[in-house]
C-alpha cells in the first residue's frame, strides 16, 4: 500500500516540483501516472524510494513512514519495491546477466536461486541471447528491458516503472505490459509513469494525471486524456 499525504517538494534552485500532492494506492492496484514532460512524475517516484528528501507531508509504504526511516533502513525500503528507472541505471562494467543478478546478490539470494531466476526473467523480456553483453553493447530498447528485468527479478510487492516503454517498439511495449499485467494479477502493486497513450488507453486501468506538481485527475478506468479534454 502506497500513501502520499500532502507531499511537497521544492528543489534547491527554487523550482516547486510537487505541491501538496495526496494519493492512495491500494495493494494490488495498477496505476498509470501521466502528465506532461516536467510535471513531476519522476519526482514522486524518487521521493518514494528516498532518492530525494521530502519537504513536507508524509509517504507511507506498506504502512511504514518513509520519511522517518533511518539511513540503515533505506536499503530495505528499496528492496521492497522494484524500480525501472527512466535513465535505466545499469552498471556499465557488468554484463546483462550480472546486472540482473546484482539485484539478487543485494538481498543475499543463494547462487542456486540466482542461476534459476535470472535466465528466466531475461527470457521473459526477450534478452536471453544478450545475457553476456555489456550495456554499451545493447540497443536503447534492450537496455531498457534489462532495467525492467532487474526491477522484477526479486518479485517485489511493489513495482514502480518510470517510462519503461519509451525506447520500445509498440509490440515489445505490449509484451512488457502483458508481463506487468500478469504480475499485477498475482498481487503486485504497480505504479507506472508513462507517456504512451496507446498503452494507457488500451489497458483501462486507474489513471492519475499530474500537471505542474498538482494532481488534476484521478480516474478509475481512464484513458491517457481525460474525457472532457478537447483534442
Amino acid at each position: 500500500m502506497i500513501q502520499l499525504r500532502n507531499i511537497s517538494k521544492k528543489f534547491a534552485n527554487g523550482h516547486v516540483a510537487l505541491n501538496n500532492v495526496s494519493l492512495d494506492i491500494e495493494n494490488g492496484e495498477f496505476v498509470f501516472l501521466v502528465g506532461t514532460s516536467g510535471a513531476g512524475k519522476s519526482t514522486i517516484i524518487k521521493l518514494m524510494m528516498k532518492e530525494l528528501e521530502l519537504d513536507s507531508g508524509m509517504i507511507l509504504i506498506n504502512d511504514k513512514d518513509v520519511t522517518k526511516l533511518k539511513r540503515s533502513q533505506v536499503p530495505h525500503l528499496r528492496r521492497s519495491m522494484g524500480v525501472v528507472f527512466q535513465d535505466f541505471r545499469l552498471l556499465q562494467d557488468k554484463t546483462v546477466y550480472e546486472n540482473v543478478a546484482f539485484a539478487m546478490e543485494v538481498v543475499e539470494a543463494s547462487q542456486k536461486e540466482i542461476r534459476r531466476q535470472v535466465p528466466m526473467i531475461l527470457g521473459m523480456v526477450g534478452l536471453s541471447k544478450k545475457s553476456k553483453q555489456y550495456p554499451h553493447q545493447l540497443s536503447g530498447g534492450e537496455q531498457q528491458r534489462v532495467s525492467i528485468a532487474r526491477a522484477m527479478v526479486n518479485g517485489p510487492s511493489i513495482l514502480v516503472a518510470d517510462e519503461p516503454t519509451g525506447n520500445l517498439d509498440p509490440e515489445m511495449s505490449w509484451e512488457i505490459m502483458k508481463l506487468f499485467n500478469e504480475i499485477n494479477q498475482r498481487g503486485t502493486t504497480i505504479l507506472m509513469a508513462t507517456h504512451d497513450l496507446h498503452i494507457v488507453d488500451r489497458m483501462k486501468k486507474r489513471v492519475v494525471e499530474i500537471s505542474d506538481g498538482n494532481i488534476i485527475r484521478d480516474e478509475k478506468r481512464g484513458g491517457y486524456f481525460s474525457e472532457n479534454q478537447n483534442r
Binding site: R71, S72, R78, R89, L90, Q92, E105, V106, E108, R150
Partner: protein, 298 residues
Amino acid sequence: MKIRTAKFFVKEGFGSLRKNKTMSAASISSVIAALLVIAIFFIIVMNVDYAASKLESQIEMMVYLQDNLSETIVSSMSKELETISGVKDVQFIPKAQALMDLNEKWGDNAYLLEGLEGENPLPDSFKVTLTDPSKANTVALAISSISNIERVVYGKEELEKLLQATYILRVSSLVIITILVFISVFIISNTIKLTVYARRKEISIMKYVGGTDWFVRGPFIVEGMLLGLFGSFITSLAVGIGYYYSSNLIKNQMIGLLSVTLMPFGELISSLVLLLGTVGLLIGIVGSFLSVRKFMKV
C-alpha cells in the same frame, strides 16, 4: 554476512581491477611510485643509522697504567675492566707497541720522536671499546676508580661532536621519513579517491537497487586491499632486488679505497617489506572505505 557474500566481494574486487584496466594500471602504478619513495628513503635512513652506529662503535678509550705493574696485576685489571657495564672489548697495549703506533701515526712528523728512542716515555695502556658511546662518561668514572690507573683518556669533545652529529642525522632523517610516509599515504589515498570518484555513478546505482552501505563497500575494500598488496609486493620485490645487487656492487667496487658499505641486505629487507606491506594494505583498505563513503549518501 553470509560466506557467499564475502566470496562475492572478493570476486567483484578482482573483477573490477580486471575490467577497469586503464584505471587499475594508473592507480597501481601510483601506489607503487608512492611506496617507492618511502622505500628509497627508508633505505637511506637505515644506512645513515648503520653508518652512524659504525662510526660510534669506533670510539675508544685509552686507559694509561702506572709504571712497572706485574703481568698478573695487568691481567686481573683487564678482567676487572671487562666486567664494567658498557665496556665491549679490552685490549692491552704495552708501552713499546704504543711507541711504534705513535711513530706510524705521526708519519712525516715522526722525526720529532727520534730523540725519545732511548727512554720510552709512554705508559702501558688498555684500549677499551664501548657498547654505547653515549655512556662514555660513566664508564670513564668507573674505570678511574680501579687502582693502579694513571689516567683515562678519550676524545671527550670529539665524542660529543660525533654523538651530536649522528643524533642530528638520525633525528632529521626520522623527521623526513615521517613527512615522506605522510606524503605517500596522502598520494595513495588520493589515488584511491580518484578511482572511486570515477565510479561514483556505479556506487549510487548499487545503492538505488537496495544495496546496504556494507554491501556496496565490500568490493571496493577488497579492491583497495588488492591494490595495496600488489603495490607493496611489487615495490618490495623491485627495491629488494635493486638493493641486493647494488649493495653487492658497492661492496666489491670500493673495498680498500674507502670503506663504503651498505647495510647488509638481510638486516634491511624484512623491516622494509613489513613497512611497505603495512602502509600499502592499510591505506588500501582505509582509503577505499573513506572514499566510497562519500558517494554512498544516496
